[in-house]
C-alpha cells in the first residue's frame, strides 16, 4: 500500500538568470515500510524530490499525496501541521536546537504536538534507549560527536510516531563507524516501528543498505530497482 504518491512533478528554480529545471515530470510511489534511497549525481534533483515528498516544498506542476492527502491543497498553516503529525526529518547536519539538551530536543517536538508530560517523558526514555544515548540525555548537542547528534536527530524524527521519515544525506558528515551505526539504527527502527525511510544520498554505504533504489538524472527517474536482501 503506497504512503506517498507523486504524479507528474515539475519543479523549476528561477533564482538565477538561467532557470534550473530540477524535476521534469517525476512519477513515484513509495510504499508503507520501505527503506528506500533516491540516488543520482549532484544537481539531479534528489533533494528537491525529497523536499517535495516531505512537504517542505511544493511542485510547480503535478500532485503529491501523502496517505491520500493532497499537499498542494493545504494552506501554509495546514502544511506545517501536517508535517508535525505525519513526517519525521533527519538532515545532513543534525540541525538540533543548540540551546536545548538531548532530552529537550526530543521532547520539544512532542510539545509542539501538545502531548502530555508523562507521555513525553516515557517516549523520550524509550527513544534514548532505542538510539543508544541514554547516558547523554542532559548533554547539549555541541557536546556530542557527529554520529551521536545524528542518533538524536533520528530519535527526534521518531518522537512524533511518524509513518514516514525523510533523511537528506544523513551520513554526509560521518565517519565509517558512525555511518554503519546510524544505518543499523535506522534499519532497526524501520523493522521495529514499520516506519518508512526515504534517503536522498550519493553515499554508497547507504545505497548498500537500501531495499529500493530510485535513480534520478536531470530531474527524471531513470532507474527504480528493488533489492532483495
Amino acid at each position: 500500500m503506497s504512503i506517498i504518491k507523486a504524479e507528474g512533478i515539475f519543479k523549476t528554480y528561477n533564482e538565477t538568470s538561467v532557470p534550473v529545471h530540477a524535476l521534469n515530470g517525476v512519477d513515484l510511489e513509495i510504499n508503507n515500510g520501505e527503506f528506500m534511497a533516491i540516488v543520482g549525481p549532484s544537481g539531479c534533483g534528489k533533494t528537491t524530490l525529497l523536499n517535495i515528498t516531505g512537504g517542505l516544498d511544493l511542485p510547480d506542476k503535478g500532485k503529491i499525496f501523502i496517505d491520500g492527502t493532497n499537499l498542494g491543497g493545504l494552506s501554509s498553516k495546514e502544511l506545517i501541521d501536517f508535517r508535525l503529525h505525519n513526517i519525521g526529518f533527519v538532515f545532513q547536519a543534525s540541525n538540533l536546537i543548540p540551546v536545548l539538551t538531548v532530552k529537550e530536543n526530543i521532547e520539544f517536538i512532542m510539545m509542539l504536538q501538545n502531548r502530555p508530560k508523562a507521555e513525553r517523558d516515557g517516549k523520550v526514555e524509550e527513544l534514548l534507549n532505542a538510539v543508544g544515548i541514554i547516558g547523554k540525555a542532559d548533554y547539549k548537542p555541541g557536546q556530542l560527536s557527529g554520529g551521536q547528534q545524528q542518533r538524536v536527530a533520528v530519535a527526534r524524527a521518531l518522537a512524533t510516531n511518524p509513518r514516514y521519515i525523510i533523511a537528506d544525506e544523513p551520513t554526509a558528515n560521518l565517519d565509517s563507524a558512525s555511518t554503519r551505526e546510524l544505518l543499523d539504527l535506522m534499519a532497526e527502527m524501520n523493522e521495529k516501528y514499520g516506519t518508512t525511510f526515504v534517503f536522498a544520498t550519493h553515499d554508497q554505504r547507504v545505497m548498500d543498505r537500501a531495499k529500493r533504489i530510485v535513480t534520478l538524472e536531470d530531474g527524471k527517474i531513470t532507474g527504480d530497482k528493488t533489492i532483495s536482501k
Binding site: 516531505g54 506545517i80 540551546v99 536545548l100
Partner: protein, 415 residues
C-alpha cells in the same frame, strides 16, 4: 508549549552573551539617560515652582481685578478683614498675608531702579513667604526699627548699597503727588530669581500706607499659602464659592499661581514635553539597534528557523520566540537602566547637581544653579511601558523575516 518557547528564547539570549550584553547595556544607558534627563528637567521645574510659590507669589492670590490691569494702588480689596476670616475657615490654608503694593523708584546716591514696593506685616508675611530664610545680610524687617526695608542682593549691588545704608523709595501717593521716604536697609535677600531680587522691595505695611496716604486697613493683595501645592485647584474652587458674591460683582478675583505666573507653568509643561520627546528619540534610536541585533541573530540562525518550521513549529510560535527574545533584551536592559537612574536620582536628589559655573544664566531665568533631580513614578512606569512597546514593534521586522523563510531553502543555508 509557551513556556518552552520562552525558555528557548531565554537560552538564545545567553547563546551570544557578548552581543546580548551590548544591546542590553545600550538599552540601559539609553533609558538611564532619558530618566536622568527627565529627573533634571523635572527637578529644575519643580524647584522653580516651589521657589515661585514660597518666595514670590504663594499658591493663591486675591485681588481687585482692576489692580491686575494697571497695578494702581487705589484698586483695593473691599472688606479684606471679612475675606481673610472666610479664608481662615479653610483647613487647607497654611498662611495668609495682606499686602499693600505700589510701584516706584528705588534710588541711592549712585543709581536708581524701578521697583515694586510691597507693604507687609512681617509676622503674617513669614507665614506665606520663605524670603526670611534667604537672607544673605542683616535681618528680616525688624518691628522695632523705623522705616526698615528688605531688598534683594541684585538691587543692592545695582544701587551699591549695603546693610544700614539709606534707600530712597519714591512713589505716587493717594492724591497723585510724588512722595518719597528714606528707608534703612535692614536685610538683604537672595533667591534663585535675579529678576525678583532686582525688583521686589519689602517694607512695613503701615509705614508704606502712611506715606502713601491710605488708611491702615487698605489691602491690594491677599496671598495664601496652602499646606500642599496639590490642593491649589480645589482650594481655588472653594474660594470661588465662598467669595461668589464679590466675584460676581467684579470686585474680586481669585487666582492660582498657574494663572499668576503662566511662564512658570508653561516652562514646566514644556520641560515635561521635552522629557517625553527625549525619551521617544532615545527609544526610536534603540529600536533600530534592537532590530539590527535581532536581524543579525536571525540571519545567523536561518538554518535553525528552517529546521523548526520543517519540524512543525508554526509561525505564531516563531513570532512568540522572537518577540520573547526581543522583550528579554529590552526589559532586562530597561530594568538595569531604571535601577541605575533611580540610584543616580537618589544620590543627586540628596547631594544636588551643582551647575554653579552657569549660575548667572540659570538665575537670570529664575532657576536655581544647584539642581535636585526628581522623577515621578509615572515616568519610570511610562519609560518601561514604552520600552515594551518599542520591543514589540522592533520584533515585527525580524519576526516577519524569520516567518517568511522557506524551510527547504533555509535548511540548506551555508551548506
Amino acid at each position: 508549549m509557551k513556556n518552552t518557547t520562552i525558555s528557548i528564547a531565554w537560552r538564545n539570549i545567553r547563546r551570544n552573551k557578548a552581543r546580548s550584553l551590548v544591546i542590553m547595556i545600550s538599552v540601559a544607558i539609553g533609558v538611564a539617560g532619558a530618566v536622568l534627563a527627565d529627573g533634571f528637567m523635572e527637578g529644575m521645574s519643580e524647584q522653580r515652582i516651589r521657589s515661585a510659590i514660597s518666595n514670590e507669589i504663594s499658591n493663591i492670590q486675591i485681588h481687585n481685578p482692576q489692580f491686575l490691569l494697571n497695578k494702581e494702588t487705589e484698586f483695593t480689596i473691599a472688606g479684606a478683614d471679612g475675606i481673610v476670616e472666610k479664608i481662615k475657615s479653610l483647613q487647607e490654608v497654611k498662611g495668609i498675608s495682606r499686602r499693600f503694593i505700589t510701584n516706584g523708584m528705588a534710588s541711592s546716591a549712585e543709581a536708581g531702579a524701578m521697583v515694586s514696593i510691597l507693604g507687609i506685616s512681617p509676622d503674617t508675611e513669614s507665614q506665606v513667604s520663605s524670603l526670611s530664610q534667604h537672607i544673605v545680610g542683616g535681618k528680616y524687617l525688624a518691628e522695632a526699627q523705623r522705616l526698615p526695608v528688605f531688598i534683594g542682593e541684585k538691587l543692592s549691588k545695582k544701587l551699591n548699597l549695603n546693610i544700614d545704608d539709606k534707600l530712597i523709595l519714591t512713589f505716587t501717593n493717594r492724591d497723585g503727588e510724588i512722595t518719597s521716604g528714606a528707608f534703612n536697609i535692614t536685610g538683604i535677600y537672595k533667591t534663585t530669581n535675579d529678576n525678583f531680587d532686582k525688583t521686589e522691595v519689602f517694607v512695613k505695611n503701615d509705614e508704606l500706607k502712611r506715606l502713601a496716604g491710605y488708611p491702615s486697613g487698605t489691602v491690594n493683595e491677599i496671598a495664601i499659602l496652602l499646606k500642599s501645592n496639590e490642593l491649589t485647584s480645589s482650594t481655588v474652587r472653594k474660594l470661588d464659592g465662598l467669595l461668589a458674591p464679590q466675584i460676581k460683582e467684579g470686585k474680586l478675583i481669585v487666582q492660582s499661581w498657574k494663572e499668576l505666573a503662566p511662564v512658570v507653568k508653561s516652562m514646566s509643561d514644556t520641560m515635561n514635553f521635552f522629557s517625553m520627546l527625549f525619551l521617544m528619540v532615545i527609544l526610536i534610536a534603540l529600536a533600530f539597534a534592537i532590530i539590527n541585533t535581532m536581524l543579525m541573530s536571525i540571519m545567523e540562525r536561518t538554518r535553525e528557523f528552517g529546521m523548526l518550521t520543517a519540524l512543525g513549529m508554526n509561525k505564531r510560535k516563531i513570532f512568540e520566540m522572537i518577540l520573547s527574545e526581543t522583550l528579554f533584551l529590552s526589559i532586562f536592559g530597561a530594568a538595569a537602566g531604571l535601577i541605575l537612574s533611580a540610584l543616580g536620582i537618589q544620590y543627586f536628589s540628596a547631594a544636588g547637581f551643582d551647575l554653579s559655573s552657569v549660575a548667572g544664566g540659570m538665575n537670570s531665568i529664575g532657576y536655581d544653579s544647584v539642581i535636585y533631580p526628581d522623577v515621578k513614578f509615572t515616568f519610570y512606569a511610562t519609560a518601561m511601558a514604552m520600552v515594551i512597546i518599542i520591543a514589540v514593534l522592533s520584533s515585527l521586522w525580524p519576526a516577519a523575516k524569520a516567518m517568511r523563510l522557506r524551510p527547504a531553502e533555509a535548511i540548506r543555508e551555508n551548506e
